[in-house]
Symmetry: C2
Subunit: 105 residues, 2 copies
């Protein structure tokens, strides 16, 4: 994502920006795949009459992501906020499915 | 992340949850790597006296992530919210560096 507007910036900055852009592309593709999974979970739970939320599962996810964050040098508080951010979107999808049927997303 | 508390849930649900857990581990590791990059950018900009924010770069990032989201079946509005969420954390890190020096994070 280098273009004319980057002229005059240090090479090192442009190299790091290139890495950020590669990481962002990977993040977007993984998020797309993760929402496919949670949409499948939403449909399955609706079909089987299972409750939409599972507080025990969520607690285990938070504990695991915090531990993975510590291992990889990421702020565990941020990891927990990140999961909450994603889960808010998942709930929005599930509400769509509940309101508009399983074909809605 | 399967344990006794998952008993009685459909196998299909447990399989999808396993995929979600794998994707989350990958997301956490990529986010850790992304923040290493933005922290390096913050130090470099401070050293070179470059302005902390670059609105042109941010506009190009938003446009690119929205396009990648559309390609991969992710809501582009969510992709944009996701970038804003990450950038808010990056700004918090840069404020830390500005307040406490380059060794603070």
């Amino acid at each position: 994502m280098t273009d004319g507007t980057d002229r005059g910036l240090p090479d090192e900055l442009l190299r790091i920006r290139g890495s950020i852009d590669n990481i962002d592309a990977a993040l977007i593709h993984l998020l797309a795949e993760r929402f496919k999974c949670t949409q499948a979970v939403g449909r399955l739970k609706a079909r089987e009459g299972l409750p939409p939320s599972d507080p025990g599962r969520e607690e285990r996810q938070i504990a695991r992501l915090r531990a993975l964050a510590e291992e990889s040098g990421l702020d565990p508080v941020f990891a927990e906020k990140f999961l909450a951010f994603i889960v808010a979107e998942v709930i929005r999808h599930h509400e769509d499915i509940a309101a508009n049927g399983p074909q809605s997303r």
